[in-house]
């Protein structure tokens, strides 16, 4: 239906333009008698400029307001609210610039259309004006830069010490999730040890890896800083959680990270949106192959107590897969020395985001 309406409107537009220019098209190109005059079509174009400004502006304003509620993914993180304020403040600033410049552009086009006997005003330059419209945007930009820079350093700064840690690893085409287990330390992993069962490549000769557990969904507690550690094991992916205003690439060979504090539990968000099926989603946002568009994970924000219970009830990877553990123990026995872990897979590997923490 919409398709038909738009089609109709455009066909009508075509007809209108055709009539406006009085269908001289064919006669003029075929007869070759047409002489370029600055007349009728010039004022038609000038009027169209004003019509475009008014109708186009009205359409844009209407559709913007109409769609406004669909635009903003509901915010569920502390820094998300700051970003949102900054976003709409910046939108307001550029909105003002947008309206002024477009109105002047189309307004001047209409007002100063060719008139017989008038002569353009020879006005080649004016340094004062140039300085003014260099400095004013520069000041506006400076304040935007300053606000953006302050927020950026805060958001990308080091995560609080008491953050809950969860690690996700992108692979074609789903997300793997693991938690550090009871010892609160993520164990060593090594991409050479990956196979169909050991998807993470856990090196179970490392003690801290023994209690790591893996899940399908990401659980995080409400109101507590969450540090997401991010890896990829094949191509680039990106962790994108629109509701939390979180995005960071998953880079093979280079662990990255992002921290945020969830403010609304999944249940609260469901109630707030009136949508009992709502779930926070984690989308892959860096092209990673044919099924990129389907690569997602569900994020569940629990009340802190629920989170503790859930966490305590999880079984570690090594306990779930005794044969993998047995294979490691067998290998450790046969070798005089335990397998040395790949240095770059160690938790101490320099993560680029940590650089900001100095």
């Amino acid at each position: 239906m919409t398709a038909l309406t738009i089609l109709l409107v455009l066909v009508l537009l075509l007809v209108v333009f055709g009539l406006l220019f009085r269908l001289q098209i064919l006669t003029s190109i075929f007869s070759g008698t047409f002489t370029r005059d600055i007349g009728m079509s010039n004022s038609v174009n000038a009027i169209l400029m004003i019509v475009f400004l008014v109708v186009g502006g009205a359409w844009f304003a209407y559709s913007f307001v109409e769609n406004f509620n669909k635009m903003n993914p509901a915010i569920a993180s502390v820094h998300g609210h700051q970003m949102e304020r900054m976003f709409w403040t910046t939108m307001a600033v550029i909105g003002v610039a947008f309206v002024i410049t477009q109105v002047l552009l189309f307004g001047y086009s209409y007002k100063y259309q060719h008139k017989e006997g008038r002569r353009a005003y020879f006005f080649a330059h004016n340094n004062k004006i140039e300085v003014i419209w260099t400095i004013i945007p520069a000041i506006v930009m400076a304040s935007l830069i300053f606000a953006g820079w302050k927020a950026w350093t805060r958001i990308t700064g080091p995560a609080p010490k008491d953050s809950v840690v969860v690690e996700v690893m992108g692979k074609q085409f789903n997300w793997l999730v693991r938690y550090p287990g009871r010892d609160m330390k993520l164990g060593v992993i090594n991409y050479r040890m990956i196979d169909a069962v050991n998807e993470w490549g856990f090196d179970l000769s490392d003690k801290s890896a023994l209690d790591d557990f893996t899940t399908n969904e990401i659980h995080v507690p409400k109101g507590v800083p969450v540090l997401i550690k991010i890896r990829s094991r094949d191509v680039l992916h990106a962790v994108y959680m629109p509701n939390f205003r979180v995005q960071m690439y998953a880079v093979p060979g280079m662990p990255t990270r992002f921290w945020f504090t969830p403010t609304l539990s999944t249940d609260e968000m469901r109630a707030k949106l009136g949508n009992p099926k709502f779930n926070y989603e984690l989308a892959c946002n860096q092209l990673c192959g044919g099924s990129h568009f389907a690569m997602k994970a569900t994020v569940i924000v629990d009340e802190p107590d629920d989170y503790q219970n859930w966490y305590a009830s999880q079984q570690s990877f090594s306990a779930k897969n005794p044969d993998v553990l047995a294979a490691f123990q067998q290998k450790a026995k046969t070798l005089a020395q335990p397998v040395a872990a790949e240095p770059e897979a160690k938790e101490t590997a320099p993560a680029p985001l940590a650089a900001a923490s100095y």
């Binding site: 220019f21 635009m71 970003m83 410049t101 100063y112 008038r118 191509v235 192959g289």
Partner: protein, 630 residues
């Protein structure tokens, strides 16, 4: 430079009428043309092969670039229509496309990997083959010698090579569309490891090899062209044509060529290293990869390194695309507003500022790629600064229209459209350049909407403006104005209908390069909007065939042009209507004044061409010009 107060007592009736095409003030230099005809002789008996195919004449090469560019633009537009079909109607059958797409339609559905190939090729074709080669290649070639008063490019032979390398590159890229595993499909930015590993996506097999080969040839073409443009501008300006008397078009082409020379080799190196990683087992961009059931031995490489190399070209590239359009638009606005361009020096200054800054903003494409956040702060600062020279340009264009006497030629309409689109698209850059806001906006449709407006559509508008404006010089005939008007209004409305709603989809977080959003609850609220965008996009694309018809029809059947149909001041309009090889049959005119003497007080015509000496315009000279005349 000049006195600002106008002479208000000008009688408007003295404006010359009917003087179209003739130089308004008789010039003695034109009298002795016939005596200096010798340059033209050698070209009379050229074989058609050398005249039309392997031509070394810059005008012919420009036309070759233009027509090849048009071919690519139609193809690139067709690809976008195909993937807009998928995005607009993800549930409906595309069985009817099987005759064209063959095995890429499976059970009535577009193959998702082929979808990615479509987006990749659309981006590659539009950015490189249409808006770089088609735009810069056409107009730098065509206008630099004509507007500078040169017989040809510094090296006609290199210029010819430049086109034929481009042609070769085109052939390779075009053939890659037809191979079994499909063309490159890793996005036009070809980020490794996806682009390096055929196991990751079939398009990274032969398709990517051909993409890289084609791009290497393309870069050679760009460098041959660029060196030629720079050399020509520096060395071959006619007598009196100092740098500060060059039209803004030439300034734009000149700086664009410098950008190209400095940035394309970096893309070349990135492509070369990627070829090494793909074929010779090196690990520049690969590390710790387990794919298709196998752990690869590559270690220590960094995918982020590739992004740095790519965007070191990739960002100047968007200015390579937009600056020629800016130059042409400045020229066309001034000519058709019958007013000097406002702030000629500020326009040059802002072009130079943009050129310099364009080299130090590349990492704003990488705020959330795992790059050190400190770098993010630096690049945010530098990126947002670029809004200042861009703003200066916009304000100067507006000031040029103010109190003008505007003729709405098709070229003028497209120039005004350019300014409008540049504003609309440029302003959202202030959001994307802010690292904090980019966390949310990165890789969403907000980005897609932003760059399609600011560099895609507006560069296209510059291209159209240029073609409509210089068509009479290219082919000696006029394009039909009214078809031009209709083409403009449909395209202008179409572009806004496509890209304004796309911002909403982007603010909602819809990721780009998604074959379908149906798997996510978060992204499904804009299904109708996507349908709307698709319809508008396809219709806007179809409207381009009005232009294609107008173009080819007018080449053969258009109204014959007069020598200076737009009453313009620049040198190209002093050549014969269809200039031969060598451009001016006689001596090359010398230049005495800047290129924007429109509606000068005291002059009885509303334009004074650059080759008219001050001594012949006593009545309109400004005081310092009078000194030069004496």
């Amino acid at each position: 430079m000049s006195d600002m107060t106008p002479k208000p007592n000008l009688s408007p009736s003295v404006e010359a009428k009917g003087g179209l095409g003739t130089a308004p003030v008789p010039s003695t230099e034109h009298g002795d043309h016939l005596l200096h005809d010798d340059h033209d002789h050698e070209h009379h008996d050229q074989h058609w092969l050398w005249k039309y195919v392997f031509s070394q004449d810059h005008k012919q090469i420009a036309k070759q670039f233009l027509i090849t560019g048009m071919f690519w633009a139609i193809l690139g537009g067709t690809l976008s229509s195909l993937f807009r079909l998928q995005l607009g109607w993800p549930e409906s059958s595309l069985q009817w496309l099987t005759p064209f797409l063959g095995h890429w339609i499976q059970a009535g559905k577009l193959n998702p990997e082929f979808y990615l190939a479509l987006v990749t090729m659309h981006g590659t074709i539009m950015v490189f083959f249409v808006l770089t080669a088609g735009l810069s290649g056409t107009f730098s070639n065509f206008l630099i010698p004509l507007q500078l008063g040169a017989r040809d490019m510094a090296s006609g032979f290199m210029n010819m090579l430049s086109y034929w390398f481009f042609f070769l590159s085109s052939v390779v890229m075009f053939s890659s569309l037809f191979i079994e595993t499909g063309p490159a499909a890793a996005g036009w930015t070809i980020y490794p490891p996806l682009s390096a590993l055929p196991q990751a996506i079939p398009g990274s097999g032969t398709g990517m090899t051909m993409w890289l080969m084609s791009m290497a040839l393309f870069i050679v073409s760009q460098l041959l062209g660029g060196v030629n443009y720079v050399t020509t501008v520096i060395n071959l300006r006619t007598r009196g044509m100092s740098m500060s008397k060059m039209p803004l078009t030439i300034w734009a082409f000149f700086l664009t060529a410098i950008l190209g020379i400095l940035s394309f080799p970096v893309l070349f190196s990135a492509a070369l290293l990627l070829i090494f990683d793909r074929s010779f087992g090196t690990s520049f961009f690969l590390s710790d990869i387990y794919i298709a059931g196998q752990a690869l031995s590559n270690q220590g490489g960094s995918p982020v390194l590739f992004q740095h190399l790519f965007w070191f070209l990739g960002h100047p590239e968007v200015y390579i695309v937009i600056m020629p359009a800016m130059g042409m638009v400045s020229e066309i606005l001034s000519t058709n507003a019958r007013k000097p361009i406002f702030g000629y020096r500020a326009m040059i200054g802002s072009l130079i500022g943009i050129s310099l800054l364009s080299f130090v903003v590349w990492a704003h494409h990488m705020f959330v790629t795992g790059m050190n956040p400190f770098l993010g702060s630096v690049f945010m600062f530098l990126t947002l600064i670029i809004a200042v020279p861009s703003g200066v340009k916009v304000f100067n264009w507006l000031a040029t229209l103010w109190r003008g006497n505007i003729r709405f030629t098709a070229a003028m309409l497209f120039s005004i459209g350019f300014v409008s689109l540049f504003i609309s698209g440029g302003l959202t850059g202030i959001i994307l350049g802010n690292a904090t806001l980019d966390i949310q906006m990165h890789n969403t449709y907000f980005v897609v909407a932003h760059f399609h407006l600011v560099m895609g559509s507006s560069a296209f508008f510059g291209l159209f403006a240029g073609v409509y404006h210089w068509f009479p010089k290219m082919f000696g005939r006029m394009m039909d104005e009214k078809l031009g008007y209709i083409h403009f209004w449909l395209t202008f409305i179409g572009v806004y209908l496509v890209f304004m709603p796309m911002h909403y989809v982007g603010i909602a977080g819809f990721p780009r390069r998604y074959y379908a959003w149906t798997g996510f609850d978060s992204f499904s609220q804009f299904a109708d909007m996507n349908k709307f965008i698709s319809i508008a996009a396809i219709l806007a694309f179809l409207a381009q065939f009005i232009f294609v018809f107008n173009f080819f029809y007018s080449i053969f059947r258009g109204r014959r042009a007069s020598q200076n149909p737009w009453r313009s001041t620049t040198l190209e309009w002093t050549t014969p209507i269809e200039p031969g090889h060598g451009n001016w049959p006689g001596e090359i005119p010398a230049v005495y004044r800047w290129p924007y003497d429109y509606s000068k007080p005291g002059s009885d015509v509303d334009f004074i061409p650059q080759h008219i000496p001050y001594s012949q315009t006593q009545s309109s000279n400004l005081p310092y010009e009078q000194e030069l005349a004496d």
